[in-house]
Amino acid sequence: MPNSSPGARAEAPNSKSGRERLSSTVVSLAATASAGMDELSLEQALKDVDLANARVIDLTQRLIAAQRRTIELQTTVDRLQVELSQLRARHNQMRNSRAFRMADRYWRVLGALRK
């Protein structure tokens, strides 16, 4: 965009001399703006595409890593749930044994006597 001398458009545009000055700069201003901007816009659009592609690749890599981590964590959770259910079964088995029930009864009687 061309730029006339600093402060050249300081004058109010609705004054006569201001209008004349404006009209003299209108054509060059608009034409140059359009010509250069196409090039600028295209150049930046290509950079934006590169940026977008890089971001997609980066996000995809992060997504894959996150999915891998999710699978690892899910495997750990599944394994721990199996271990937990095995321990619960064992615990219940112990609680239902004759020795546990006898001991439990003994402690209840002892508790009642202490009161």
């Binding site: 965009m1 730029n3 006339s4 001398s5 600093p6 402060g7 050249a8 458009r9 300081a10 109010a12 545009p13 609705n14 404006l22 009209s23 700069t25 209108v26 054509v27 201003l29 608009a30 140059t32 703006a33 359009s34 250069g36 901007m37 196409d38 600028l40 816009s41 930046q44 659009a45 934006d48 940026l51 977008a52 971001r55």
Partner: protein, 386 residues
């Protein structure tokens, strides 16, 4: 800077036949005695039939540069064109503006004066009736402020109060924002991740802050802003909404402290002080210029202050408070003393056109109520209830 600074003033356009012509005319008549300004309208492939052609013609008449992108870019990338053009064209400052704004005559000079006052300033946001959390409240802005003359008057009045003050703010607002190009070289462009727009300028200013630059508001650079016009037209947000939630989430992710910083700013008295001083100044200046009436016990009503200022003495707690209204602005005035009416007249510097007593009990509560012209005093009774 020995020579006058060069400024690229870019207006992002997308449809908006109701607002864009006024905006461009307003931009074209801006005063730039202290800087050389080139104005550029960036039409983001407005789809409305004939609209782009009309805007191009108007730009030609006004001496404004015009560029229509061959396809829609969205606000961030459209603004990036302006930023790139500013860098390529060797400008010292670039102003990014929406197209639903009426700029005050001195807005560029005010923005540039503040931006040039300190090398650490990375961006300067203008002040407005609609500038996110920084808004100067007005009850009917579309009715009372959408006029170039009143925008200029409000801006001049506020500028007389604040001068070249730069108020540090937590984040910038892009409806009218000035960026020094030397800062632009460090911070870079707007991030296209914000797609069709919203939050891109917040992100940019927060990025600039992380790099050590200040984000400031220039209260003296006032502009009237409709708000949301192009984004509503584009279907980006619904009418009455002012943001895009997905883009807000990006901000939250990148700047976890941002919300709390905004909350802290709002909790401080900075903004309240700014608004109170501006409103009081506007009311007093309006009263001095266009006249005023004083009411005792009554301020309200949509027409209050429509043609001239109104200053009301109202009950507030145990005492009386002086409140002024003018064209949708309502502000508390820091006036006290035994004779409030006389104090108001002294502050304004001229007599009121009328003093209306709506509440006789308040008159009895006033220790003194002296006026030079008792004939002005009119006792008003409320109409009987229907």
């Amino acid at each position: 800077m020995s020579r006058a600074p060069r400024v690229l003033f870019a207006v992002a356009v997308y449809n908006g036949p109701d607002v864009v012509p006024d905006c461009l005319r307003s931009a074209a008549r801006m005063i730039h005695a202290t800087c050389a300004v080139d104005i550029l309208a960036l039409d983001d492939a407005s789809p409305m039939p004939g609209f782009s052609r009309d805007v191009e013609r108007l730009c030609g008449e006004l001496g404004i540069g015009y560029y229509r992108s061959p396809r829609n870019l969205g606000i961030p990338r459209n603004f990036n064109l302006a930023l790139l053009q500013a860098l390529r064209g060797g400008y010292d400052f670039v102003v990014l503006a929406n197209s639903d704004v009426i700029f005050s005559g001195r807005v560029v000079e005010e923005l540039v004066a503040v931006a040039a006052s300190d090398d650490s300033i990375g961006s300067v946001t203008a002040w407005s009736n609609h500038a996110s959390i920084y808004s100067l409240p007005n009850t009917q802005p579309d009715r009372f402020l959408s006029d170039q003359a009143i925008v200029d008057w409000v801006a001049d009045t506020i500028a007389a109060e604040f001068g070249d003050a730069a108020v540090d703010i937590p984040v910038g607002v892009g409806f009218c924002m000035c960026i020094p190009t030397r800062v632009l070289r460090v911070v870079g462009l707007m991030d296209p991740v914000f797609g069709r727009g919203y939050c891109e300028e917040n992100d940019w200013t927060l990025r600039s802050k992380a790099l050590g630059f200040r984000i400031v508001l220039s209260p003296s650079a006032f502009a009237y802003h409709v708000g949301g016009n192009s984004t509503v037209a584009a279907g980006l947000v619904s009418r009455g909404e002012y943001t895009v939630p997905a883009n807000e989430r990006i901000l939250d992710f990148r700047y976890p402290l941002y919300r709390s910083q905004v909350d802290s700013f709002q909790s401080s008295e900075i903004l309240d002080t700014l608004v109170d001083r501006a409103l009081a100044r506007i009311v007093v200046a309006a009263a001095a210029e266009w006249g005023y009436d004083i009411t005792i016990g009554h301020l309200r009503g949509p027409e209050t202050g429509a043609t001239m200022a109104r200053i009301a003495l109202e009950v507030q707690g145990d005492g009386l408070e002086v409140v002024g209204a003018f064209r949708g602005f309502t502000g508390r005035m820091d006036i006290d003393g035994e004779d409030l009416v006389r104090a108001v007249v002294d502050r304004v510097g001229r007599e009121p056109v009328a003093i209306r007593l709506y509440d006789q009990t308040l008159r009895r509560g006033l220790p003194r109520l002296s006026v030079d012209h008792p004939e002005l005093v009119e006792e008003v009774t409320y109409p009987g209830r229907v």
